[in-house]
């Protein structure tokens, strides 16, 4: 198929990509970011492009916007925007299209907004750059846009700086900017990934509503099949720079044809209303008992300004039986991560008690607690930041036990055995963290935590940074480890679907307090508190109580 010969794209297609190949510079893991991809975005529809990290979905979006980095360029193929081929179009003509015909929303609304400009000025700038309107009419239009994206008090919002807004509000501002020139096509690159689940639901709703009202065409990039089920009309599935499957949302979700699509859909964690079969343990005494735990953050000096006091963890109490997993779920700022760090004493608590195996560790000094550290270990969120880039895997695993007096040779033996156990090659021992993928690094993080054979594992968002298929493998590994070693776990996550997979019991946190605690069946099927109900309802792609299955096994 030679696309450039094709005169004009059909009338009902807003964006058409034909045989697009984008080269990567030499020395990368593959030669093409995307190779020979073709798809159409029909007018007035939402097209979801889904794939895992490295699948080339963002590169595709940037190619359409003409925003590829200098070292990467389109080597062949055509992109027709409203019938005009934009590949090899001169920069100044392309610039006039951007914003006017096609507009983009980015993943991280904080870094995409200029922190030194007011919200109003940034929206104004978009219109001024294209020479639209007078200062007065632009101001009116900006306020109109702010109203349209559902921001409270638009007149006031116009004069606000981005740092004063919440993540969801910032994303609304980004949408307002993208809509300023009434583009025909809107590209949204993972616009809800950085947001909390309830905010995500609102933003998805907003995008869908605006799309319907204006008859816009939307290309929506995501890695989450839940999101696809929420809003997509049609779907393009990408893997390693190729399109493996495309079709209507119904068809792809209900009867996926390609094995990769099937695997992706199967890997999406689903809410299970069923409780986990608990591990039988001889010891019934709780291994951990938390009573009225408090932590307050203070910022700003009391000398020069009023102190800002934020209660991060407020009167939290729970207990945990040996061999069980307690999930702590909540949105960002709910205090769940602070709670995890308090339990392992990476933060000092302000009040309350933490009874670990019957002993109150809350008031122990660092020196007194150090001998106990091996018994409580943590798996961190970011597999890239949690391993020292200048240390070998061997050093990372053995440094702790050696510091606690294990002979070096024995520690090395154990480390190698453990590497195999968590599914890595023992040859990993002498290599550096950057040589591993995210999922492999997370396995190393798990191995590090297991080196001491701990009694209690705290997993702080341990799978949040991973692709869904990797996520499923890591959850499985954690489950297997718990069944083998009988370790108790506290699993901190913002993702209720993940929590439902691995937890015996779930505690829902909001503003530093536990608002509800119970087995998954109660939390998901019969939530007692209004907040839990809101959280469960906001999960994309799943509405317990309505019949809208996401996939065959959903």
């Amino acid at each position: 198929m030679v696309a450039s010969i094709k005169p004009v794209a059909p009338h009902d297609v807003a964006l058409s990509v034909r045989d697009l190949t984008v080269n990567l510079p030499k020395g990368m893991e593959r030669a093409h970011a995307v190779e020979n991809i073709s798809f159409d975005l029909k007018r007035g529809q939402i097209l979801c492009v889904i794939g895992e990290s490295g699948s080339g979905k963002s590169v595709t979006a940037n190619a359409i916007m003409g925003l590829l980095p200098k070292v990467i360029h389109v080597s062949s193929g055509a992109i027709h925007l409203d019938g005009t081929n934009i590949v090899d179009m001169p920069q100044d003509k392309l610039r006039s299209l951007r914003g006017r015909v096609v507009s983009m929303i980015f993943q991280d609304p904080l870094s995409a907004l200029n922190p030194l400009m007011t919200v109003g000025a940034q929206i104004d700038e978009v219109m001024a750059a294209h020479g639209v309107g007078t200062p007065k009419s632009r101001r009116g239009r900006a306020i109109e846009l702010l109203t349209e994206v559902g921001l409270p008090d638009p007149e006031l919002m116009y004069h606000q700086y981005p740092f004063r807004l919440s993540g969801g509000q910032r994303q609304r501002v980004m949408i307002a900017m993208a809509l300023a020139l009434e583009p025909t096509i809107l590209i949204a690159d993972e616009p809800t990934t950085a947001l909390d689940v309830t905010t995500q639901a609102q933003i998805l709703e907003l995008i869908r509503e605006i799309q319907r009202r204006k008859g816009m065409s939307v290309m929506f990039i995501t890695h989450d099949f839940g999101v696809v089920a929420e809003i997509a009309d049609s779907v393009v599935v990408m893997e390693k720079g190729h399109i493996v499957e495309q079709g209507s949302a119904q068809q792809v979700l209900k009867s996926p044809g390609h094995p990769y699509t099937r695997r992706l859909i199967a890997a999406v964690p689903h809410l299970t209303g069923e409780d986990r079969v608990p591990l039988e343990t001889a010891d019934k005494d709780p291994i951990l008992k938390v009573e009225g735990l408090m932590k307050t953050y203070r910022s700003g000096s009391s000398l020069f300004s009023a102190q800002r006091v934020v209660p991060a963890v407020n009167e939290v109490s729970f207990d945990l039986a040996p061999g069980r997993t307690l999930g702590v779920v909540g949105e960002s700022g709910s205090g769940k991560s602070s709670l995890g760090r308090l339990l392992i004493k990476l933060l000092d608590s302000d009040g309350g008690g933490i009874l670990f195996e019957g002993r109150d560790i809350a008031k122990l000094s660092e020196a007194e607690f150090r001998p106990l550290r091996p018994r409580v270990q943590m798996i961190f969120q970011d597999p890239f930041a949690s391993l020292n880039p200048r240390s070998t895997i061997g050093h990372i695993l053995t440094v702790g036990p050696v510091a606690h007096g294990t002979p070096g040779a024995q520690a090395r033996e154990e480390a190698k055995a453990l590497l195999t156990h968590v599914g890595l090659d023992a040859g990993a021992f002498d290599r550096f963290p950057h040589e591993f993928s995210g999922g492999q690094r997370q396995r190393i993080g798990i191995a590090r935590a297991l080196m001491f054979k701990p009694k209690l594992l705290i997993a702080d968002e341990a799978v949040s940074a991973l692709d869904v298929s990797i996520q499923a493998q890591i959850l499985q590994l954690l489950d297997q480890i718990q069944r083998e070693t009988g370790v108790s776990m506290i699993f901190i996550t913002h993702d209720l679907r993940v929590a439902s997979q691995i937890c015996d019991e779930i505690a829902v946190m909001q503003k530093g307090r536990i608002v509800e605690r119970g087995p998954p069946s109660q939390i998901f099927l019969d939530p007692q508190s209004a907040y839990t109900r809101e959280l469960v309802a906001a999960i994309p792609g799943e509405q317990p109580g309505t019949t809208r299955p996401v996939a065959a096994n959903g």
């Binding site: 990567l24 020395g27 990368m28 893991e29 593959r30 970011a33 990290s53 490295g54 080339g56 963002s58 590169v59 940037n62 760090r341 392992i344 990476l346 150090r370 001998p371 550290r373 091996p374 270990q377 943590m378 961190f380 969120q381 970011d382 890239f384 930041a385 949690s386 391993l387 020292n388 880039p389 200048r390 240390s391 440094v399 702790g400 510091a403 606690h404 002498d430 290599r431 550096f432 950057h434 040589e435 995210g438 993080g445 590090r448 935590a449 001491f452």
Partner: protein, 292 residues
């Protein structure tokens, strides 16, 4: 897109990439070549020249460069300038290197502790740094030099004491940001001691900026040594240094300009070369645009 860029190179890829970036910085390479030549000349040169640096030949006073075997001429006592220049280079470069090592060690120690501990310890250390910085360093240098007996070792200490603050500030800032990284938390979780975390886990990650600062400190130290020796408080004759050669030359600027020009050129070449190397290293070690 970032994930695409992460490549699976051989182990220690950062070294090769750093090397590649450094070698593509032409001025830095020039600096390396110049410093190598200068060092080799200072180490071996005096043995190869026909005159000893202390040999006085009053018949040959003020010979201009290229007189007989006096390639760079002679000084007011008829001593060979080339021999003195290279012997002076030994002193000046040795003092500068030692001062760099000492000031980098002090600066790193203070910076790491202040950055990791923070709180009142960090505040106290960094205010000390501010205190040192608030003295005009030349006066501090001269006051110390006037009060203490000026031997090469003492000059080294004096130069180090007045130039460690910059390293301390750079390291403190670097460590303060590294301290928040999860691998440091992981170290605490494993129960590693504070000293272990500071010097074995964090410090290797801060080596880039430290190396750059150290290189620039050598250049600075050469200048400081020349400065105090020129003013007569530094290295004392007959031991030659580039600074006191300049001092001896100042009254003959009209009649024998080479006496000032030659050591001046040596200082300029050495300082410029170190600055070029420092710039090259800064560009090569700056991994902020990579994934670490």
């Amino acid at each position: 897109m970032t994930a695409l860029v992460a490549n699976a190179g051989p182990s220690r890829w950062w070294r090769s990439r750093t090397m590649r970036r450094f070698t593509s910085h032409h001025l830095a390479l020039l600096g390396v070549v110049m410093i190598t030549l200068l060092t080799l000349a200072c180490v071996f040169g005096p043995h190869l020249l026909p005159y000893d640096s202390l040999y006085i030949d009053l018949r040959a006073r003020f010979s201009p460069p290229l007189t007989g075997y006096h390639y760079l001429g002679t000084d007011p006592l008829g001593r060979d300038v080339a021999a003195r220049l290279l012997m002076a280079g030994r002193t000046s470069l040795l003092v500068a290197f030692s001062a760099m090592l000492l000031s980098t060690m002090i600066g790193t120690l203070v910076g790491v502790i202040a950055g990791y501990r923070g709180g009142w310890i960090g505040a106290a250390l960094m205010r000390t740094v501010d205190g040192f910085l608030s003295f005009p360093s030349i006066f501090l240098l001269l006051a110390l030099a006037a009060a203490l007996k000026p031997s090469p070792a003492m000059v080294t200490v004096i130069v180090a004491v007045t130039s460690w603050m910059e390293v301390a500030r750079i390291v403190e800032a670097e460590v303060r940001s590294l301290r928040e990284r999860e691998f440091v938390l992981a170290g605490r979780m494993l129960g590693l001691s504070g000293a272990h975390i500071m010097f074995r886990e964090i410090l290797p990650n801060a080596m880039g900026p430290i190396i750059v600062a150290a290189t620039l400190t050598v250049a600075h130290a050469i200048l400081l040594e020349a400065y105090i020796s020129f003013l007569g408080y530094g290295i004392q004759p007959p031991l030659p240094s580039w600074g006191n050669m300049l001092e001896g030359a100042q009254q003959y600027l009209d009649s024998a300009p080479w006496l000032a020009i030659i050591p001046g050129a040596a200082i300029t070449i050495a300082v410029t070369s170190f600055n070029f190397i420092g710039d090259g290293l800064r560009d090569a070690l700056d991994v902020r645009d990579d994934r670490v």
